[in-house]
């Protein structure tokens, strides 16, 4: 059930009706959320609903048991390890079995060995990377003592399955959502208005993404190396598509959550205006980068800290980013993407450490513009690896961007496409800027015309029920 489909609009309206007028008590509302979320998830594939609930129930009981063993550190650690092994085991089985089997088959082919028969292709449950991380972080937080395990499973089940963020994030930690599900404090009227506007903006950004997606698909499906103009058009279009698609999805998720009375923290903060790759990761998919920081990167550093050993931040960062690459997709191109991003980020940290003045220089004026340009250029290069179907195509497009395949003969049509791609890219960020950083949309004079404009644009130009890029993760 896609956010940009008629089916979802019908689902949302019916759900809002039941949630507001039928479910009166807090428990009834929590049950409504859980059941509604299961129906929403079953819309993708009903076979995986037990997996979703099973993951949540398991973590709930492990955390509950941990709380009972508060004084027994060894028992708590065992329960934590069990939670991590089971969660990652499920994720590994569904997401990475095919990948490792394919890689093993590739090696067997290389050595002229016969492939075994009888293996099944394993279907990927949508959103598994998101809800597994979410559910697992609950047991980690309870183990660390930063969160108390809950007595009742209802709030936790509703939190993990909460449909606005179920299939593509943001990854919301239990510490953010559980207190809201326990309090059920009504939000001010302005929050509901903001929710409606965010849904419209999300659909608008998604429509832009769909339009740019046509250009991207054409370039990546093309035969032979692209020319300079074609390569830049396609690469810029992908940057716009990825932002519009994922930020659009997140805006809709936050908007729907607001309509139900819950606040989800922002997941994007104008990432393409970042002045360094380090900054990009504090402004792009914020919920994933902070999750990786707190549950993958810092624990590695913490071990050294507690043992009073010399910290190894570059190694820890490298491992974290490679895992982030694999989290995005089970393929070697994503591993390579992680390697490149890890190298870029480490180089960036080294530069800032070696030349601390640099960090202070790029905060304004032309150094800032230059820094934004370089950062965006590196992002575009990373984007090629992210999108290209193979290493071969990655190299072809990268070569094309650097005049490796000639300038090409720019026609009016090609130049117009390039111009429209840039316009789409800029518009996506401009609308997000208006929404996040300015108060324009709060006044009725702007609110209603903007709402009309965004929804009309989305209806006219958005792809009908076109899928979201991040659903594949």
């Amino acid at each position: 059930m896609l956010f940009n489909s008629t089916l979802f609009i019908v689902f949302l309206l019916v759900f809002l009706g039941i949630y507001t007028f039928v479910a009166r008590t807090r428990d009834q509302k929590l049950i409504a959320i859980t059941v509604g979320s299961c129906i929403f998830y079953a819309g993708w594939d009903y076979r995986f609903v037990p997996l979703l609930l099973g993951t949540a129930v398991l973590d709930f009981f492990l955390a509950h048991e941990m709380e009972k063993q508060r004084e027994n550190r060894v028992a708590r650690k065992r329960l934590l390890v069990l939670s991590i092994v089971l969660n990652l085991g499920v994720l590994f089985f569904f997401k990475y079995t095919n990948f490792f089997l394919d890689s093993a088959y590739g090696l067997m082919d290389l050595f002229g060995m016969t492939r075994p028969t009888g293996f099944l292709e394993i279907a990927l449950p949508v959103g598994i990377s998101f809800y597994t991380f979410q559910s697992m972080s609950y047991t980690v937080d309870v183990y660390r003592g930063t969160l108390r395990a809950r007595e009742r499973p209802l709030e936790f089940l509703a939190g993990v399955s909460f449909f606005p963020h179920l299939v593509a994030g943001p990854i919301i930690r239990a510490s953010v959502l559980l207190p809201q599900f326990e309090a059920f404090a009504p939000l001010p009227w302005a929050a509901y208005r903001r929710g409606v506007m965010l849904i419209a903006i999300g659909l608008f950004n998604k429509a832009i993404a769909d339009m740019l997606g046509v250009v991207v698909d054409e370039m990546y499906a093309g035969q032979g190396p692209p020319t300079l103009l074609a390569a830049w058009t396609g690469t810029l279009a992908f940057a716009g598509q990825l932002y519009g698609d994922f930020c659009g999805y997140t805006d809709i998720a936050i908007g729907v959550a607001l309509l139900l009375g819950f606040e989800i923290p922002p997941n994007f903060d104008l990432p393409y205006l970042s002045t360094s790759p380090i900054e990009v990761w504090t402004r792009w998919h914020i919920s994933l980068s902070t999750w990786l920081r707190d549950y993958v990167y810092l624990p590695q550093m913490k071990r050294d800290f507690l043992a009073k050993r010399k910290p190894r931040p570059y190694r820890a960062l490298f491992i974290t980013i490679i895992l982030a690459g694999l989290w995005h997709g089970a393929s070697w191109t994503f591993v390579a993407w992680g390697l490149v991003q890890g190298t870029i980020l480490n180089a960036n940290h080294w530069l800032f450490k070696r030349y601390p003045k640099l960090k202070r220089t790029i905060v304004s004026g032309w150094p800032k513009l230059l820094a934004i340009g370089i950062t965006f250029y590196l992002w575009l290069l990373g984007g090629i690896m992210f999108r290209a179907p193979s290493f071969g195509r990655t190299l072809e497009v990268a070569k094309g961007m650097h005049l490796g395949n000639g300038l090409g003969a720019p026609t009016y049509s090609n130049l117009l496409t390039f111009g429209l791609v840039v316009l789409g890219l800029v518009t996506g960020h401009f609308v997000s800027w208006l929404s996040n950083r300015s108060t324009s949309f709060q006044t009725s004079k702007v609110f209603w015309p903007a709402l009309f404009l965004f929804t009309t644009f989305a209806m006219c130009f958005g792809g009908v029920s076109s899928s979201f890029v991040y659903f594949a993760f």
Binding site: R144, G145, T146, I278, E279, T282, R293, D294, Y297, L298, M301, K302, D304, F305, L306, P311, P313, L317, H349, F352, K353, P356, K357, K359, R360
Partner: protein, 84 residues
């Protein structure tokens, strides 16, 4: 050591380590993580400094970024875990 002295020491350390010696605009409420003054790599570096300089007995669960939110929070952390 008074709160003011702790604050001043940490402030000087942050300025020298992360801001090229420039502590302008760095007050007790300045968000250190949110503004990127202390990035992910700096978190453990700063915690190590605080632990060693003020001889803290930091339990494992307190080794977390939230304890470095701003200078005020850091001073509170130092006061809570100073070895008696």
């Amino acid at each position: 050591m008074t709160d003011q002295e702790i604050l001043q020491e940490v402030r000087t350390y942050i300025a020298n380590t992360f801001l090229d010696g420039d502590s302008k605009g760095l007050d007790e409420n300045t968000p250190l993580l949110q503004t990127g003054i202390v990035d992910s790599m700096g978190i453990m570096e700063l915690l190590s400094f605080i632990r060693d300089r003020f001889s803290l007995d930091l339990p494992e669960e307190e080794v977390r970024p939230e304890n470095l939110e701003n200078l005020k929070v850091i001073v509170a952390l130092v006061n809570r875990f100073k070895k008696s």
